[in-house]
């Protein structure tokens, strides 16, 4: 077993209202960042996990996302590559 570090991004499903993203965009505008367009705010998780291989680690994290980390009704997730921690 090796210890891997895997990053997961969980974002609100496109089409769903993202008031946090909108608030950030508005705030950036009023700070003078006029070139900013759409902003989306999601969650970024970094997990350390022991696995036989990088693929195994990713697969494990996928199960975590499906069971707990992401809400299938409102969120999409993307799993980054597993790196040795």
């Amino acid at each position: 077993m090796t210890r891997y570090r895997v990053a997961v991004e969980i974002v609100p499903r496109r089409g769903l209202l993202d008031p946090q993203g909108k608030a950030v965009a508005d705030a950036l505008h009023s700070l003078g960042f006029s070139t900013v367009g759409d902003v989306r705010v999601g969650r970024h998780l970094v997990l350390d996990t022991d696995a036989a291989s990088a693929d195994a680690a990713q697969a494990e994290v996928r199960r975590m996302c499906e069971q707990l980390l992401a809400n299938p009704v409102t969120e999409d997730f993307h799993i980054g590559v597993a790196e040795r921690a």
């Binding site: 608030a23 705030a27 009023s30 700070l31």
Partner: protein
């Protein structure tokens, strides 16, 4: 563990920095204080010991500049079960039910990181209350910021409010009241004072006193990390550029763990397995262990290797000074370790025996077998020097007080008093704080009979027909312009607010927010304000059961307004006496208790309309306030009062307007004739802040006036309550002012939300909200 009576060998740890004058200074220890330490130890202190001393002898923990003054405050009454000196004060209420309460400041942490600073402030004061064996039933907060026109201030304001809300909401304790003042003097040095009130049965009261040789000392709750190391001494330094470098030292709160800790602690206390319990608050493990030992006059030894830590390689110095939140120190009965651990496990909390109470009179810290710090007896706590400074009033403030408000020329628009009234109702300090308290769960626990937005909150006590009325008040501008009078007013206004709900004021806790006490003009303010508070507390029979001192509240621009905040607890023997602040029904007579005067000095009118903090604050005679409160309470108990609201910021005109429209969903108009006082300058009559006045609405004006007369309190029928549609009309001799309500109501209700939801979102909404992920 060793019980030898010969002092152990204390050697520096490998890697300890060398003890230099610079290092001593950096720890905020003066040369003479260092002398004391050397004399106490009979040798030079180790680095670990320097850290311990710097924490325990910091202003925050030792009160070295305030204790001699605090001693002058009255602390006793038949109903006081616990006065100053414990984690919180306790008073008896009724039928064996008592309440514990205390206020605590988190000013400096909140200036650096508003969300976490305010949140952990709430966490700390909750722990102070439930470690007395009381279940927290209410939170209040008193806040001061610079003007909302500054983006940084809006960021601080939004962050502090969200931090207070998120923490209290999560733990499930209703936030039922407080106050917010915006004034240039607090720019860069906001004040965040949090007050907690808990309920207990008298026999459940427990004190944080270590005793019983051989009893185990147990660390409970969150693991110890490198959080807020030196937070205690940090809170005792001027806010300066240097504080920037301390930024990584902020603490992060975990209200979820706090909730578990709350339930587990109350279960532990009820279980009888423990002797004492105390929050690891300011200066963490060091102060909690040393204070518990000192209170019990016993020795203790604690082993740093046994403390559960969050990070590797933490030194004893770091473990002792860490301010990681949501931790408790427990002294259990020997042999009950398993039972204690079992209760904590049910709540998924960690516990570790880290030391024990010993016969030998020493405060000893070990790292395994190695002794890394040892102080004789309890001298670590008792030997801290106290200081009295020669007090000299600031000539600048004396001159400001001497100025005559009537020399200030009115603005042209003031020809119409309604314009001025509208301006004042739209002043963020006076305007409705609904934007704030809508973010607080004020109803959880379903005992909130009167929530935020009134003079004081009223919480019923289940199992009795009694309730407590709670408020927190303070006016820094008054204290700046006359600390003696300002100190009196702070207490009297708090008492008046509580009495307006039908409650008898019983006791106070207080938070002294002042500047650098080593400056004679600041010490003058501190000593005079405490004297004024003491005078009022004696006359009103509201002893001081506890509080907190926050000094060095300064910023590059200088000291803040000296700001004592008074947390008042009043008791309602019967809930049938609960009285609202707002008018209740059309046709009721409006009676003014107390007297209008020509006192415009130090008013919100001068500050907001003319940008001036000048003139003498209104006179305050506690004896008259006492009479007013007695009269008001007799009238309420006689069932003659429909509503009662005191006159404070903005004076009589603002008080009347508030009675009419403080409730958005239930508004009234009114007509008043103030011709009786037409010889007073109009703006003093309408906007002056003469003390000792209450606006009452009643169906029995004659009874109310008669009862007032019996108590020697002036009372006069000034008008009646009208339907909202009729608006308001004020008549003074030949001057008459009329207005429809909507404009005033908008000014009062929307000002703050407009500012915060408007262009301000850059500094308000987004940043703090994106700080929390839940």
């Amino acid at each position: 563990m060793s019980t030898s009576t010969t002092a152990s060998q204390v050697l520096p740890r490998p890697g300890d920095p060398e003890i230099t004058p610079a290092l001593i200074k950096e720890h905020g220890i003066t040369p003479s204080e260092y002398e004391r330490v050397v004399e106490m130890l009979g040798r030079a202190p180790t680095f670990t010991e320097v850290g311990i001393v710097s924490a325990l002898w910091s202003e925050h923990c030792s009160y070295k500049h305030s204790r001699p003054l605090l001693r002058t405050l009255p602390t006793e009454a038949p109903w006081v079960l616990q006065g100053p000196g414990e984690n919180a004060g306790v008073i008896a209420v009724k039928d064996g039910i008592a309440v514990a309460f205390k206020v605590e400041s988190h000013n400096h942490p909140s200036a650096v990181e508003p969300y976490q600073g305010a949140a952990t402030g709430v966490g700390g004061i909750l722990r102070d209350v439930f470690t007395m064996g009381a279940r927290p039933i209410a939170l209040l907060n008193s806040l001061r910021f610079g003007p909302l026109t500054s983006p940084r201030v809006r960021y601080l304001f939004a962050g502090v409010v969200k931090g207070i809300g998120d923490y209290g909401n999560c733990v499930g304790v209703p936030t039922v009241g407080g106050e917010v003042v915006f004034d240039p003097s607090y720019e860069g040095n906001p004040l965040v004072n949090a007050m907690c009130v808990g309920v207990l049965r008298e026999e459940e009261l427990i004190r944080a006193v270590a005793e019983g040789v051989g009893n185990p000392i147990i660390a409970v709750g969150a693991r110890t990390g490198r959080d807020g190391i030196h937070g205690a001494s940090f809170a005792s330094e001027d806010l300066s550029e240097e504080s920037e470098s301390k930024r990584p030292r902020v603490q992060v709160g975990d209200p979820f763990t706090e909730k578990l800790l709350l339930e587990a602690s109350l279960e532990l206390i009820r279980s009888g397995h423990i002797v004492a319990i105390q929050d690891m608050g300011a200066a963490g493990l060091t102060s909690s262990s040393a204070e518990m030992a000192a209170r019990g006059d016993v020795g203790v030894t604690i082993d740093m290797l046994k403390v559960p830590v969050r990070e590797e390689g933490m030194t004893p110095y770091e473990i002792l000074l860490s301010e990681s939140q949501e931790r408790m120190l427990v002294v259990a009965h020997r042999g009950r370790e398993a039972e204690v651990a079992e209760i904590l496990a049910r709540w998924d909390l960690e516990a570790a025996v880290i030391g024990e109470v010993i016969a030998e009179p020493v405060y000893r810290v070990t790292e395994g077998d190695r002794v890394v710090a040892e102080f004789p007896g309890t001298r670590l706590v008792t030997d801290c020097p106290t200081y009295t400074i020669d007090a000299v009033e600031s000539p600048v403030l004396a001159a400001a007080r001497a100025r005559n408000p009537h020399d200030v020329a009115p603005l042209p628009q003031e020809d119409n008093p309604i314009w001025t009234l509208e301006q004042l109702l739209a002043s963020p300090t006076i305007a409705s704080k609904a934007w704030v308290w809508r973010q607080y769960d004020s109803m959880v626990r379903t005992n909130t009979l009167v929530g935020p937005g009134s003079d004081a909150a009223v919480i019923r006590l289940r199992g009795t027909d009694a309730g407590v009325a709670l408020c927190i008040d303070g006016n820094g501008r008054y204290v700046a312009l006359d600390p003696r009078v300002g100190g009196r007013i702070a207490v009297c206004e708090a008492a008046r607010n509580v009495a307006c709900t039908g409650a008898r004021p019983r006791a106070i806790t207080n938070n002294l927010n002042f500047g650098n006490p080593t400056r004679p003009e600041v010490y003058f303010q501190l000593s005079q304000a405490v004297a004024g508070m003491g005078e009022a507390c004696r006359t009103l029979e509201t002893p001081v059961t506890g509080g907190n001192v926050s000094l060095y509240n300064e910023n590059p621009q200088g000291a803040i307004h000296p700001t004592p905040t008074i947390g008042m607890v009043g008791v309602l023997d019967s809930l049938s006496h609960v009285t609202p602040s707002a008018f209740q029904s059309v046709g009721d007579s409006i009676v003014l208790l107390g007297e209008n005067t020509d006192e415009l000095g130090a008013s919100e009118y001068l500050q907001h309309i003319h940008g001036l903090a000048i003139g003498a604050p209104p006179a305050c005679d506690p004896v008259e306030e006492r009479r007013l409160i007695d009269a008001l309470l007799s009238a309420i108990h006689a069932g003659t009062v429909r509503s009662a609201h005191d006159c404070s910021d903005g004076g009589l005109a603002v008080a009347l307007a508030e009675c009419a429209m403080m409730r958005r969903d239930q508004q009234f108009g009114f007509e008043v004739d103030l011709t009786h006082w037409s010889e007073l300058p109009l703006r003093a009559l309408l906007f002056g802040e003469a003390q000792g006045r209450v606006v009452v609405s009643t169906v029995a004006p004659d009874r109310v006036c008669a009862i007032a007369a019996e108590h020697g309190v002036p009372a006069r029928v000034i008008g009646r309550v009208l339907p909202a549609a009729d608006g308001i009309e004020m008549l003074v001799g030949d001057v008459s002012a009329r207005l429809k309500l909507p404009a005033l109501a908008r000014a009062f209700h929307d000002t703050i939300s407009d500012i915060m939801n408007g262009a301000a979102s850059a500094a308000s909404g987004a940043a703090p909200d994106s700080l929390t992920n839940s």
